[in-house]
């Protein structure tokens, strides 16, 4: 028994070590590339420890118009997407909470929208957005709406869980107290959903902030951050790509590590 226990413990340690290494090495490489001159990044054999440190990439990222524009655009798109997804998610969750038929319809729609392959939506969507003048706009409004649609299922399910925790009697009580349906939603439900609303907002925001495919297809010139990182990464600008990646990752990491527990306890996404 004790020997087997030891073996298990060794396995546990090894696994932990493996997880740590696979997590730390990429982050280290990213930081290294962001702060070393590009010749270091192109060297062969690869330099694990940079020879020349520089702030040039970070400076470039934060000072060039294009990069700053993307940063701001990404933030705007993510904010609009998160607000829309949270608002619509709240509405949907509210409608689904007490009504079985609404719940069935809602779940079916959320499931269907989760099943759609990005490419099958994005290509025709580009055509549609061109027609309505929302394709590749500087504000990225079209993309923000699409991101909202993608984030909606997660937000709605999360809020649905939160709604379900509020006892039905509270609504009945408020109704008997003379509150209208809208008052019930605004003054009884919403104040109790603060945490879930915050979680839905943060998750929607991050999902938009991280989203790549639709951004690539719908904002070919007025880019958001992920496609811009893609262009710099695949098009050879190692330093700028890494610096940009750091800039875009840092806030995400801070938020997510802080919200680790919400994440781990996040309600599961809708099934089919």
């Amino acid at each position: 028994m004790s020997q087997r226990f030891k073996l298990l413990e060794i396995c546990r340690r090894a696994l932990s070590a493996f997880a740590v290494v696979t997590a730390v090495v990429p982050i280290y490489l990213l930081i290294k590339q962001a702060f070393s001159v590009e010749l270091d990044s192109f060297a062969w054999p690869p330099r694990w420890i940079p020879h020349h440190l520089t702030l040039e990439h970070l400076h470039k990222v934060t000072s060039t118009g294009e990069l700053r524009e993307s940063l701001i655009r990404s933030a705007e798109v993510a904010t609009v997407a998160a607000c829309t997804a949270t608002l619509l998610g709240t509405m949907l969750a509210y409608a689904m909470t007490r009504d079985l038929r609404a719940r069935r319809w809602g779940l079916a729609a959320l499931t269907a929208s989760r099943l759609l392959p990005m490419i099958a939506v994005a290509l025709p969507l580009a055509t549609v957005l061109i027609r309505v003048g929302l394709y590749d706009t500087p504000s990225g409004l079209g993309l923000a709406l699409v991101h909202a649609a993608i984030a909606l299922p997660v937000a709605a399910i999360l809020l649905l869980g939160a709604f379900a925790k509020i006892p039905l009697e509270l609504e009945d009580a408020a109704f008997l107290d003379g509150a209208s349906q809208l008052t019930i939603l605004l003054r009884i439900y919403l104040p109790q959903l603060k945490q879930a609303l915050a979680a839905a907002f943060v998750l929607s925001f991050l999902s938009s902030w991280d989203e790549f495919g639709f951004g690539l297809l719908l904002q070919p010139t007025n880019r958001t951050l992920p496609p811009l990182i893609y262009y710099y990464a695949v098009f050879g600008d190692v330093g700028a790509a890494s610096a940009l990646a750091l800039v875009s990752t840092a806030p995400v990491l801070i938020v997510l590590v802080a919200l680790r527990h919400i994440l781990i306890r996040q309600p599961k996404p809708p099934a089919f």
């Binding site: 696979t22 990044s41 392959p117 099958a120 939506v121 709605a156 790509a241 997510l256």
Partner: protein
Amino acid sequence: MRRAGRFLRLSCLGLPLGFLAITLILPLLSGVILSFQADGFSLENYRFVLGDSLFRRSVYNTLILAAASLVVEFVWGLIFALLLSSRRRASFVTEVSVLMPLLIPEIVFLSVARYILLPRGYLNGALAAVGLPAVGWLDPRSALCLLSVALVDAWRVTPMVTLLLLDGLQGIPAELYEAALLDGAGSFAQSRYVTLPLLKPALYGALVLRGVDALRIFSTVLVLAGPEGAPVMSTYAYQLWGDAMEEHRAMAASVLLATMIGTLGAVVIAFRARTRASGGGALEGLSG
């Protein structure tokens, strides 16, 4: 009864669903229509796509990639979930490390993976440092390239699987293990007769979710291998649209992908309905 509230509820249901319809379903339908257009209404685009050897290779690659990625991420996901849920709590560092790939934006993760796997990347550098020859991890059309893509994809989503399974594991009451222990079950027997059967719903749900995602694989291929290196259905459509400017054929290809995934979804829903009817309740927990 409460007629006054009905309007609010109906609009609360209708508005978001309408929004989903306009942003997702409507474009999809217009894509379907476009895919049938080629000098008038015809099946020409489908004929082209289905007759294209590159498309056939894309279908093959999509299926292989999905299968490989799923196997890897579920094995790892289960191992990590057990690691995180074991009675001796994992340290903060381990916890964050296991989740790390999920915390980093997808594109950042993929570009770092690319820097690692390039012919003169860090992995080959590490191999050279110990005197091993370089390996063509991303050589176009090679089986190794497919494997690399599958591994990176699995590496990125394993935390997601871990979380889904962790949720399932944490739902298993500790008393059951104690009871099994008292009944004389060893750790293998415990996992065989307690963990696995009770984890089944979570496992099944995660498998469905990830299966759909695996078939949709796009970014990983685009960043690591390029649309020619390991063509999959989504990059095939993207390439027809962006590079070849064959809009209608691109739509046909993406409609085929959507159909494939939709069929899978329908099968799963039907299967789920059956297991639920027979008291299996496989995905019950997942419907929120």
